[in-house]
């Protein structure tokens, strides 16, 4: 419960910003405010939400944890899985291939960090280049078409205006992650090792194994995002993961997870993802130059961090 209390200022700030944003849109261009815009926002949110969830776990677990390779994993997993299907893998195994490749790449990161003791920032920067470079090199930069038609109804479908990938994958995973973090031993260990790794080791928490698993989960989440992109777009694009490392990082920090670990939760991250995508969609619809979009997202991050620092000091 205490974790929830500490999280609530962030959630309140994010909700307030979202209301402000929607009010701004209503004033400037009320025509945008339709149910289909909401569907679009949630559709675009699904991939970022999945990737941000993995990123949040990695950062929460502390030890200077960060996963810069998430975008590379999304690109490489979708490309490799598609190539496997083209090479004769049964089409029904496409989702499993995405997840398996994502998990394997994530565990690779985890091994670099926990076994070789390479700083996560550097280890995942290196694998980011390896993964995203391989995705482009393997395909010559061309999109791989031919996603089995059986998957696209799920990837493009919606129930009551809510896209199926968001409703049936991203949202449930956030709920599961939220429950695991707040209500199980595993979640408490994660927060404890993020907060004070020395004490976590002293009480016998298997810190290295937990960290390995967390990087694996981040890869798994990116693999799931890769499958969402395949089912949505109908093809594997070698650059689909571009910029996801930065936007997911922004969403996680905006969502109230401390970059030092051990503080924050996933509810804020989901709220931040929705805020970010709403903002980007609105700016796009208002025909604002993409250069400004990046600056505005940055300004938003600074504003939330300042607000959070101020409320933390007061407590």
């Amino acid at each position: 419960m205490t974790a929830r209390l500490r999280q609530s200022p962030t959630l309140a700030i994010l909700a307030g910003l979202w209301v402000l944003l929607v009010a701004g849109i209503a004033l400037l261009s009320p025509g945008i405010l339709t149910a289909s815009t909401l569907t679009t926002i949630l559709q675009f949110s699904s991939i970022l939400a999945l990737v941000s969830l993995g990123q949040a776990l990695v950062i929460l677990a502390g030890g200077a944890g960060i996963d810069l390779s998430v975008g590379g994993i999304v690109s490489l997993a979708s490309v490799l899985a598609m190539m496997a299907v083209s090479a004769g893998l049964p089409a029904t195994l496409l989702p499993l291939a995405c997840l398996g490749i994502g998990l394997a790449l994530g565990l690779g990161n985890g091994l670099l960090v926990t076994r070789l003791r390479i700083l996560p920032l550097i280890a995942t920067l290196a694998t980011f280049y390896v993964f995203s470079g391989s995705a482009v090199a393997l395909t010559g930069g061309a999109a791989q078409s031919g996603v089995p038609a059986a998957f696209t109804p799920w990837g493009r479908g919606a129930l009551a205006g809510i896209p199926l990938p968001f409703l049936t994958l991203a949202l449930p995973l956030f709920l599961v992650a939220g429950v695991v973090i707040s209500a199980t031993s595993w979640g408490r260990w994660l927060v404890a090792m993020g907060d004070n790794e020395r004490s976590a080791r002293l009480v016998g928490i298997p810190v290295d194994r937990a960290r390995l698993i967390v990087y694996g989960l981040s890869g798994l989440a990116s693999g799931a995002a890769a499958f969402v992109s395949l089912a949505w777009l109908g093809s594997a694009r070698p650059n689909i993961g571009q910029n996801l490392e930065l936007t997911s990082l922004t969403a996680v920090l905006l969502g109230g997870v401390s970059i030092f670990g051990g503080r924050g939760g996933v509810a804020g991250v989901l709220a931040a993802v929705l805020l970010l995508v709403t903002l980007q969609t609105a700016l796009l619809r208002l025909n604002i130059n993409t250069v400004w979009q990046v600056g505005i997202v940055g300004a938003l991050l600074v504003a939330v961090l300042v607000a959070d620092a101020l409320t933390t000091r007061r407590r």
Binding site: R188, A200, V203
Partner: protein, 256 residues
């Protein structure tokens, strides 16, 4: 004399060229408070870190209840009943008191292998332990980050109590405490020993040591230079042993 709970023989710990601990023999008995005294850098902290499994000794042996043991980790030490309350209290500020007491060994209900916390039960246990300690902490769900130094000490002691430790090692438990809190921690230390626990207490405060301990061992420059029963010594002698002014210690220092 019954077999000591813990026997250390010839314990030596070197860090490269530095010998932090040199050939220490020491017994700790169940039901007694044994105080370790010595100046900074005398080797007390290294000694307890070896007992706690945080450092592996370079040489020497440890036996617990007559059985030789070797610790690869603090977890190994905890498994044979050694609980250590480190000077830098091993607590997570973001977790609640109850979560800290149970960290690493939570009471859980497994659902499909997933360990769900039994918060109510853990809160009750911690509430009882805190009452027993008279710690004046009303809410076991409060985050440890909001507690005073003495209250944190109480949380760490709660942890040791919950573990049903046979040997509790306390590193400077009263160093940062107010007078009333120091009283409580000393009372508690005594109570632990009366329950049959062996307590190893590191302290710089001679008055505290004389109040609570049964025996004292003095460390100097990585060696154990003296061992005294409380009723066979006085604060002046102990101070002279610590500072090296005592004739016995001077003789030892000359030998080196």
């Amino acid at each position: 004399m019954p077999t000591p709970l813990l026997e250390a023989r010839g314990l030596t710990k070197r860090f490269g060229a530095l010998t932090a601990l040199s050939g220490v023999d020491l017994d700790v008995n169940a039901g007694e408070v044994l105080a370790l005294l010595g100046d900074n850098g005398a080797g007390k902290s290294t000694f307890i870190k070896v007992l706690a499994g945080a450092h592996a000794p370079t040489e020497g042996t440890l036996t617990i209840g007559g059985t030789p043991v070797a610790f690869a980790s603090p977890q190994d030490a905890a498994n044979v009943g050694i609980a250590t309350i480190f000077q830098e209290l091993a607590l997570s500020e973001n977790l609640s008191i109850a979560e800290n007491v149970f960290l690493g060994r939570e009471i859980v209900r497994r659902v499909a292998g997933v360990p769900f916390l039994r918060r109510r039960e853990m809160k009750d246990v911690v509430g009882r332990l805190l009452d027993e300690l008279d710690a004046h902490i009303s809410d076991p769900d409060a985050p440890v980050g909001s507690l005073s130094g003495g209250q944190r000490q109480a949380v760490a002691i709660c942890r040791a109590l919950y573990l049903d430790a046979r040997l509790v090692i306390m590193d400077e438990p009263t160093a940062a405490l107010a007078v009333a809190e120091t009283r409580k921690v000393l009372d508690l230390t005594r109570r632990l020993a009366d329950r049959g626990c062996a307590v190893l207490l590191i302290s710089h405060n001679i008055a505290d040591v004389f109040e609570v301990s049964d025996r004292m061992a003095v460390f100097r420059r990585g060696r154990k230079v003296a061992e005294r029963r409380r009723d066979a010594t006085d604060p002046e002698e102990i101070v002279s042993l610590i500072t090296g002014a005592h004739p016995d210690v001077r003789a030892l220092d000359k030998q080196q």
